[in-house]
Amino acid sequence: MEDQYKIYVVVAVLSIILIGIAAYMFAIERKLTKLEARIDDSNN
């Protein structure tokens, strides 16, 4: 791989990190949705 293209490796790493964080945030939201459903149940 030529040196001038090596920046793409960094771009790939950053992209994976961003997608990972996004997936993690969606997982956290799913947890919150479950907790909110439990609160709704206990209110009724």
């Binding site: 920046i7 793409y8 960094v10 771009v11 950053l14 992209s15 961003l18 997608i19 996004a22 945030m25 969606f26 956290i28 939201e29 919150l32 907790l35 909110e36 609160i39």
Partner: protein, 223 residues
């Protein structure tokens, strides 16, 4: 999932900003490749402005309707906004160390940002000093409205009026946008929208978990 399209859009815009932010041809300038910081560092400030505006709107809503949810959301907005503001200051200091040779150059942009953050720290301290819930909500809503005006003045207006600044992009309109050509703007504007939406997403998560926390605390009081 149908209410989450903007979160996916935010990630797509930021992916675009990461990929093209490193690849796009940038104009020659005296700061070289660090000009690419504009896609990420400036995004922090717009994220902060976005959530602080949400806080401002919620404080106004609280004063007109008295709904405690608006108070809760305004409080969380300030917390998220301070977080992004600190990221903006830290990323700016890293860049300044390598560009100006010192992390803090007593530039109007930097001092304005620091003053605005201190104003919001005072908001958080003010809240913790008032035990009565109703009173705390009302006093901090009024304060938050003033704080947002101060933020706009110190970050948006005063740096532009200053002639004595090192910060890139000064002297021709917006303090952050100056050195960019049309190519860069194709990356810059989507990046800003992506960062603004990402911070709103973080705010939403914080608000939801805080509502759950309040519910649990109320239960514990009634036991």
């Amino acid at each position: 999932m149908k209410n989450n399209w903007w979160k996916i859009l935010s990630i797509l815009l930021l992916l675009y900003a990461i990929i093209y932010g490193f690849i796009v041809e940038i104009p020659d300038s005296n700061i070289g490749d660090t000009l690419r910081n504009v896609f990420y560092h400036v995004g922090m400030w717009f994220a902060m402005l976005g959530v602080m505006f949400t806080g401002f709107v919620n404080s106004l809503k609280f004063l007109s309707k008295g709904d405690m949810y608006n108070d809760l959301k305004a409080n969380q907005s300030v917390l998220v906004g301070v977080f992004f503001g600190l990221l903006g200051i830290i990323t700016g200091m890293v860049w300044a160390e390598f560009t100006w040779g010192e992390p803090w150059a007593n530039d109007p942009h930097l001092n304005g940002a620091a003053v605005s953050l201190l104003v919001y720290f005072a908001y958080l301290i003010l809240r913790s000093a008032i035990p009565d819930e109703e009173k705390r909500a009302r006093v901090s809503a009024v304060y938050n409205i003033f704080a947002f005006v101060i933020l706009i003045v110190f970050v948006g207006i005063l740096p532009r009026l200053s002639n004595d600044t090192l910060h890139p992009g000064s002297g021709d309109g917006n303090p952050a946008f100056g050195d960019m050509d049309a190519q860069m703007r194709y990356v810059f504007y989507p990046a800003l929208i992506g960062w603004i939406m990402l911070s709103q997403w973080v705010l939403q998560i914080r608000t939801r978990s805080k509502v759950i926390e309040e519910f649990i605390e109320e239960k514990e009081l009634n036991l």
